[in-house]
Symmetry: C2
Subunit: 348 residues, 2 copies
């Protein structure tokens, strides 16, 4: 079952190999009870933690260990993006079934470390254990200047509601995988292989959105530095759910324009496409609010090469609620799974 | 199944109730994508993360949610103790099965928050999700002055090997629970109830060691402030395994005196008692090395009310190895599960 059992030395070696990427403030990384760093470089240190659980957040047969390693870190970095923070480092607590090959583990770590290098969030510590299924706990830390932090609670009446990124695609990708259960996908390491398997451009976009989400650190960071956002969140549970977090924390309401929402492609039923956009989940888009003046300035100066700013609605006064304007009608949305312990529960 | 479904508001309320215990440097806690604090108070910030997984690290029927909440935080704080760090805050990523009652969750959080108050490690952020079994991801941060950090790598030839705490008891406690599978235990909230159920003093000590381990933050902190330890680790996998981490990181060997080891009580076979002491697991004792001079000073000035310093051996030159002196014979120990991905794998 396990042709090459993994020794702890292999593991430490793999992780120490990235040592040249370690930040100078790091005092102690892997190989002790805690990772330790000197945080004097930061006025504000952001920290976030998340679990990714097999058969809840992913299926082992539907994502390769390499992609899973990348995604596990990327979705956590998306939380740093939402605060306008710059990544500092990451930690990984990993539990693996005994029957997994060492290759699975190595590919996972390779993916994780590649993503860590890409976003300068080196793996500085963690923990390994056994479990019946794959369990991944990721913790990320990031930093920024204290005055520039962007909270969920900053939305103001009159603000534009602005989206960066796409909606509903990730859910389409998930559905392709659930429906077709391709055995090839379990070991795909390259985007080109994924593209070939996908066949069409649309299918590839959906699979890529689901398997390899990109944390929108660059646009978030730019908006933070330019002080062009009042409130921000990353869209992980679904646009409606996550917008509602901003509204609740800011004690305001929002009106969304259905026509302004980026809809996922390939739908014959526009109402269904709208549902995917509003409640897709795992989009890892950025949702923010800013004044119209800030928006003009942002649109004018937005750096080339970043996904565009899309105005999708505005903040209005009233109790936290989302109103959808569609073909002249105004309906109130009920964010799914909010009142009771939800399927994709919001963060606390 | 779920008489009182848990709303996110209940949860946030429960956590915000501890707000008066929050440290002043905290900029943002629950209710955003990340927790944020100003780390300027710290020269060295320690961070550690761990998973506790149902049916791997605990059984739901063998520990009450209240005790589990306490233990989940305590075992993580033990990692801070091992660095000589003072707790700053904690984060919790929790996944629960859909069929659990809200009471289970509330009791878990109550236990976690009680432990957090006790050790001044307030819960400042986290994440909730669903899973087939209970999964707990805890992250702790702590701080200290940079010059005083105690690493695994600091052991020197000639050092005494010193233990604080007990060995093997926790494993005895686990075995009582595994053997007797008492249904009463699943909702025990008080030590007095546990004591009554245990019947004898020995059984109570074993159950308490297993269900309610104490992070040895106070003695660790004292040793760190007095600069009386060269190397330190917490004994979570077993004395032999964890001592071996110090030896490997410090590139030295150790001789243990079997007669000096604190053996768990109630054994007719001393060799078996010794095995429990060396390889018990989940002891959450502190293991350190220091010069004989440091040890004399520590013994002389050790604050009252702390578990005593026990010299159990010494550091010798040589490749990392543990030699056990017993009745005039010297044998080399093989730490269990070290070479290959182990059952209770060491940290990396």
């Amino acid at each position: 079952m396990n042709p090459s059992p993994l020794s702890e030395f292999d593991l430490i070696r793999m992780i120490r190999r990235q040592a040249r990427h370690f930040p100078p403030a790091l005092l102690k990384h892997i190989g002790d009870d805690c990772a330790v760093f000197n945080p004097q470089f930061a006025e504000a240190l952001a920290i976030s933690t998340d679990l990714l659980i097999e058969n809840v957040h992913f299926r082992r047969k539907s994502i390769s260990p390499f992609f899973l390693g990348r995604k596990a870190l990327a979705v956590n970095l998306s939380d740093l993006a939402a605060m306008g923070a710059r990544p500092y480092a990451s930690l990984l607590a990993l539990a693996l079934p005994a029957d997994l090959t060492a290759d699975y583990f190595r590919e996972f770590i390779r993916g994780f470390l590649q993503e860590a290098r890409r976003w300068q969030a080196p793996l500085i510590g963690g923990d390994l254990s056994r479990a019946g299924t794959v369990q991944i706990g990721v913790t990320v830390t990031g930093y920024t200047s204290a005055g520039n932090l962007i909270y969920r609670s900053g939305a103001r009446v009159g603000d534009a509601v602005v989206l960066i990124g796409e909606l509903g695609l990730s859910r389409l990708g998930l559905e392709i995988l659930e429906r077709e259960q391709p055995i090839e996908i379990a070991w795909v390491k390259k985007k080109t292989t994924l593209k070939k398997w996908a066949g069409t451009r649309q299918r590839y976009a959906a699979l890529k959105a689901h398997l390899l989400p990109q944390p929108l650190l660059r646009p978030a960071r730019w908006l933070q530095e330019q002080r062009l956002a009042h409130a921000m969140i990353d869209v992980s549970d679904g646009l409606a759910s996550d917008l509602f977090h901003i509204l609740r924390e800011s004690r305001v309401a929002a009106e969304l324009q259905a026509d302004s929402l980026p809809l996922p492609p390939g739908f014959s039923d526009p109402a269904l496409a709208l549902d995917y956009a509003l409640n897709g989940g795992e989009d890892y888009a950025l949702l923010l609010t800013c004044s119209e003046r800030q928006l003009s300035k942002a649109v004018k100066n937005f750096p080339a090469g970043l996904p565009p700013l899309q105005k999708i609605g505005r903040i209005v006064s009233g109790k936290p609620a989302i109103y959808l304007q569609r073909r002249g009608r105004r309906t109130r949305l009920t964010p799914r799974g909010f009142e009771h312990f939800p399927v994709n529960p919001p963060r606390f």
